[in-house]
């Protein structure tokens, strides 16, 4: 059984000008990164100048190689066949007499495009090897790290702008349909604030003297606000007024015991 059939001729032994050992054939697809890689291999192994490729020789080698792969029924990527066609075309153009060049305007070498692509590929092939030579983390060097046993996890509080609160309120009031309620609108916030203050002062205590709730230094308006707040609190059943007898001092008490 012939080793291969090349251009109709049976080969009983591997061709001597084929620089690839036969046992490499099985790993062919893994070994080469495509037709450019294979061509570079053929050129480099024969110490040929990439700028002056003996195109006929290389083409024959390449094609016999491809045919052998077919014989072995190895699936070939389409790119390999495209390259075979390109090589065949260059080969035939090389055989044609080249037109006489007039001055600098000479016809481009049919191999020029192939040479350019081979060189372009080769430089990145080299770059990939160089990259692999660089120090790799986890291969050549390792990140040094040490545990910090007691980590103070510092929680950072989110920032809030007043505007965000306004928008939130506007949303919730819209939902609750409270913008229509005049009662809410007219209520001055100072009274609400004072309600909280009064409530806080009386909470946890038995009785607080009514007059103690008022701070004269807040002025007339302050006293009015406090008074309104106390009334609001009484109305809301949060506060209770206590008077032992008529004209006795009035005391205030939180409604919750």
């Amino acid at each position: 059984m012939p080793f291969a059939v090349v251009q109709g001729e049976p080969w009983l032994t591997p061709p001597t000008d084929l620089y690839i050992p036969p046992d490499a054939l099985e790993v062919f697809l893994d070994a080469f990164e495509g037709p450019l890689d294979l061509l570079l291999y053929l050129i480099r192994r024969q110490n040929l100048d990439i700028l002056d490729i003996p195109i006929a020789k290389i083409t024959d080698q390449y094609v016999s190689y491809i045919e052998m792969m077919n014989e072995l029924r190895l699936e070939l990527a389409a790119e390999y066949l495209v390259m075979a066609a390109m090589l065949a075309e260059i080969k035939s153009r090389m055989l044609l007499p080249r037109p006489v060049s007039d001055g600098d305007e000479h016809e481009e070498d049919p191999r020029a495009e192939l040479i350019r692509r081979l060189q372009e590929y080769e430089r990145y092939k080299q770059a990939a090897e160089d990259l692999d030579e660089l120090e790799h983390m986890t291969r050549d060097t390792f990140q040094a790290s040490a545990e910090l046993v007691e980590r103070h996890v510092e929680a950072v509080d989110p920032d809030v702008s007043l505007r965000e609160i306004m928008l939130a309120l506007s949303d919730v009031l819209h939902r609750a349909d409270m913008f229509t309620s005049h009662r809410v609108e007219k209520e001055p916030l100072s009274v609400r604030e004072k309600m909280s203050h009064v409530l806080e002062r009386v909470s946890g205590r038995n009785f607080v003297s009514f007059t103690e709730l008022f701070d004269i230094s807040e002025g007339r308006l302050g006293v009015v606000v406090t008074f309104l707040a106390v009334l609001e609190l009484i109305k809301g059943s949060l506060l209770e007024l206590v008077q032992a007898e008529a004209f006795a001092p009035i005391h205030v008490k939180a409604k919750v015991s």
Binding site: S145, E147, E150, D157, A168, V172, L173, E193, A254
Partner: protein, 201 residues
């Protein structure tokens, strides 16, 4: 120190730091071929020397249950911990609404907030607001369950640079803000223009 002990120390230091976790003496021995494998006693000696080298440094060698570990000195924690300080999270809409209602309707119970918002207020929200010291309990309403009454604090005013609650925008102003926002939305360049005839800006 002989070459070997010196090299040994390099390897042990490198291994402990590369591992970033405790390494046992057995594991350290496992780094060497059988011919050059150091005795455990030698490894202990090297670890002691290493510990001495680290005096006055940012790290130390400690022995824990599963072996030896190089760790960062605890006293550096106040600085180093800042490596993991996360960007502050954003408060949820629910929290902001709750805060706004407490500010504008104080003193108010959780149930009243829920009535206005129409949804339950999670305990977490109240907890967050209390821990931040923006909200506090000022009393309890005299109804069954005696619910707490919440109000804003001085810290709340300070944070927002307010002298008193009165400086908060009135509800009327908020309504204006609302309409201003709607206008802004119309002008938002990221938003597709409303359909209809093209407008020249």
């Amino acid at each position: 120190m002989s070459y070997d002990a010196h090299k040994l120390k390099q390897i042990v230091e490198g291994a402990l730091l590369a591992a970033g976790r405790p390494v046992s003496l057995d594991q350290l021995q496992g780094l060497f071929s059988e011919q050059e494998m150091p005795e455990k006693k030698d490894l202990r000696d090297v670890l002691t020397t290493l510990g001495e080298d680290y005096e006055g440094r940012g790290i130390e060698v400690v022995e824990v249950a599963s072996g030896f570990r190089i760790q960062v000195r605890t006293e550096l924690s106040p600085w180093i911990s800042k490596l993991w300080v996360e960007r502050p999270p954003k408060y949820s809409r629910a929290l902001l609404e709750t805060l706004a209602l407490i500010a504008y309707r104080q003193p108010i119970t959780r149930g009243e907030i829920e009535d206005i918002r129409g949804v339950a207020v999670s305990t977490n929200i109240i907890k967050t607001l209390t821990e931040r010291e923006w909200v506090r309990v000022v009393g309890h309403r005299d109804v069954p369950g005696k619910p707490a009454l919440y109000a804003t604090t001085k810290e709340f005013l300070d944070y927002f640079n307010l002298k008193s609650l009165n400086e908060l925008p009135t509800l009327a102003e908020i309504r204006d803000l609302d309409s201003i926002n709607r206008e802004l939305e119309l002008l938002d360049p990221d938003k597709p223009p409303p359909p209809g005839p093209a407008r020249i800006p």
